[in-house]
């Protein structure tokens, strides 16, 4: 569904992504790991369409469409979802409020009928149970005064509502307590199907104990320098990144 070829991107004068290649098929889970500052969030942002980054080379195809040619909202409507590493606070806008707009705009894009208030209520209720999130949180101004864990749960709630084809979870595990980690991971697993795929950006094995990856990639200085199966994550947990970096001859 997703095909990234030689993707290069920069912000200002700073080159961040230096030639990423990645193929993702329906049903797969890919983990992306790598040291701080290696470009993981940048890759996620470029895929979601953040305009601060300038793509200088390469291509990204999503279900055969040129993803880079689409506005962020079109990418969402095509089925891309990003769970933010740092979800923004939006004073005065509640989750339920903007998610209603989001769902109906996406439905419109796809030529589907809008949902009415009753249908929303029912759907939200069901999706809330996936991540064990409380209605009161969804009625509050988005992320304003949310705890770290509440922010992440809210991201996964939104994912549950939008049912993306490709979800990118950028360090969704950070800030979650042990129980919340399990609940959120179970929520993600519940949404898994043979038709969709997930990219999990994480620093730790523990999330991958729940969301088991088919592939693990190491991103270093803007390139994928190593890929492997789920055992690679275990190895990284034990040995860190030094052995990979030194093998690069740097």
């Amino acid at each position: 569904m997703l095909s990234i070829k030689n993707l290069q991107a920069r912000i200002g004068e700073k080159e961040i992504l230096k030639g990423i290649n990645l193929e993702i098929k329906a049903g797969e889970v890919h983990a992306i790991m790598g040291p701080n500052g290696s470009g993981k969030s940048t890759l996620a942002s470029v895929l979601a369409g953040r305009e601060d980054y300038e793509v200088t080379a390469g291509s990204v195809e999503f279900f055969g469409k040129d993803l880079l040619d689409l506005a962020p909202e079109e990418r969402a409507a095509e089925g891309l979802f990003l769970a933010f590493q740092y979800p923004v606070e939006i004073p005065g806008v509640s989750t339920t409020n903007f998610m209603k707009s989001a769902v109906n705009e996406i439905r419109k894009y796809r030529g589907e009928e809008p949902l009415d208030a009753v249908q929303f209520l029912k759907m939200f209720k069901e999706k809330m149970s996936y991540v064990n999130i409380d209605q009161s949180l969804l009625s509050r101004a988005l992320n304003e005064g949310f705890s770290g864990g509440e922010k992440k749960r809210n991201e996964i709630f939104q994912m549950a509502v939008l049912e993306p084809k490709l979800a990118i979870l950028d360090e969704t595990d950070s800030g979650l307590d042990i129980d919340a980690l399990r609940i959120v991971a179970e929520g993600v697993n519940k949404l898994k199907s043979p038709d969709n795929a997930t990219i999990v950006v994480t620093h730790y094995q523990r999330l991958l104990d729940y969301i088991i990856p088919d592939f693990v990639h190491v991103l270093y200085k803007g390139k994928i320098v190593k890929s492997g199966g789920k055992e690679l994550a275990h190895e990284l947990e034990e040995r860190g990144y030094d052995w990979i970096i030194s093998a690069l001859g740097e």
């Binding site: 939006i90 998610m99 707009s101 989001a102």
Partner: protein, 403 residues
């Protein structure tokens, strides 16, 4: 200029003062951004014809002519200012010295000279008017005109009143300069809630002078929603002339293409132990201009005053400009005062977040702008008015962003 025959000495003096100064120009400090200079050269009809528009409002000011329709609520009188002064001889002397801050305001003189029909809405002591009184302020002219209007609101001790004003121009009207003076007196332990909706035509210039005196233990919640007109100037003055007075000033202006909206507010604390809270917000669309000038005076006697002022603006277009100037003059030492003004663009991070969820750029911007203005709208307790204002503001923002 041709004026009608002026009879009283005070009118004659007023017109001489106006003639000496003319309409404010941008050389006047208080009118720097909002000059009315071009009106000095216009050939104006100074006494536009009376109107007879249909309106469901109880109180109607049609081209400066104010009347009351329907049954007056119990304990409310509606009489001419002259009759009011005869009925209240002690007030007459007080009236002369009640509003001293009229510097650079030649328009007040113009109004005094030419206004023909000054009426008083008078709420008697202890009377709580439970239904809001609606006030339609309607303008319409066959040729370029200047319209003078004046309304007095007198709320006696322990009384309470809610007023909902809607100022608008009749469709097809020629250019109008509307010069509207309101003098409001809120006595001890009285309450007034006043919502002003200014939604006028693009060829209307609307100048609103609202002067409010408050005595001890009174509360006024005033809202000014400036939605449309080529030019709106609000001179809103609060004279806090008692103890434990609460003055709440709320303002929201949404100027669009070729519109200018200017709020000049004065809160004058003259006695101890009172508070004022001023919250103004602006969304500036198109090539519009906004002006906020907020003065707070705390007189030497006004110890333990709490006076707060906040003015926040979003430039929703790169072509819009906002000018802000808070002015605090504090002569008492034991007071709590704060002020803050901000002007900025919408947060890019927030916009990207919403778009990443499938919301179009225009809708994401509308959502954020509505969230921004909601704080002011939400303070309106009159439900019908709140909904109407919300609808109008949404549609104005949406239309502007869709271009």
């Amino acid at each position: 200029m041709l004026y009608k025959e002026l009879t009283s000495a005070s009118q004659k003096e007023a017109i001489e003062r106006f003639k000496a100064k003319g309409f404010p120009t941008n050389k006047w400090e208080e009118w720097k951004y909002a000059s009315l200079k071009s009106w000095n050269e216009k050939d104006l009809d100074w006494t536009p014809a009376a109107l007879n528009e249909t309106s469901s409002a109880s109180l109607q000011t049609q081209n400066g002519n104010t009347s009351f329709h329907g049954t007056l609520p119990a304990g409310v009188e509606f009489i001419s200012f002259d009759a009011f002064l005869v009925a209240n001889p002690t007030i007459a002397t007080k009236w002369e010295q009640r509003f001293p801050i009229l510097d650079q305001n030649s328009l007040y003189d113009l109004n005094t000279a030419l206004v023909v029909n000054t009426q008083v809405l008078w709420v008697k002591a202890g009377v709580s008017v439970d239904q809001a009184i609606t006030h339609d302020f309607i303008l319409s002219a066959a040729q370029a005109s200047a319209v003078q209007s004046r309304v007095i609101v007198y709320v006696e001790t322990d009384a309470s009143l809610t007023l909902i004003e809607r100022a608008y121009t009749k469709e097809g009207s020629a250019e109008v300069l509307s010069n509207f003076v309101q003098e409001i007196y809120v006595n001890e332990k009285a309450n007034l809630t006043y919502v002003k909706e200014q939604d006028l035509a693009q060829n209307t210039t609307h100048i609103d002078h609202t002067f409010i005196t408050q005595l001890s233990n009174s509360q006024v919640d005033l809202f000014t929603f400036s939605l449309n007109a080529a030019y709106i100037r609000n001179n809103l003055h609060f004279y806090s002339d008692g103890e434990n007075v609460v003055s709440n000033l709320n303002g929201l202006y949404v100027p669009g293409e070729d519109q200018l909206m200017d709020s000049h507010t004065v809160v004058d604390h003259r006695k101890p132990n009172s508070e004022s809270h001023e919250l103004y917000k602006g969304v500036l669309l198109g090539n519009s201009t906004g002006v906020f000038n907020g003065k707070i005076f705390v007189r030497p006697d006004a110890q333990k005053t709490n006076a707060f002022q906040s003015c926040k603006n979003v430039l929703a277009s790169t072509r819009a400009t906002m000018n802000t100037k808070p002015q605090l003059e504090i002569w008492a030492d034991d007071v709590k005062c704060s002020h803050g003004t901000t002007t900025g663009q919408l947060n890019d991070e927030a916009l990207f977040y919403l778009r990443s969820r499938g919301i179009s750029l225009a809708n994401a911007r509308t959502l954020l702008l509505l969230a921004f203005v909601q704080e002011v709208i939400d303070r309106v307790t009159h439900q019908e008015t709140k909904l109407r204002l919300t609808d109008k503001i949404i549609s104005k923002i949406q239309t502007s962003l869709a271009i």
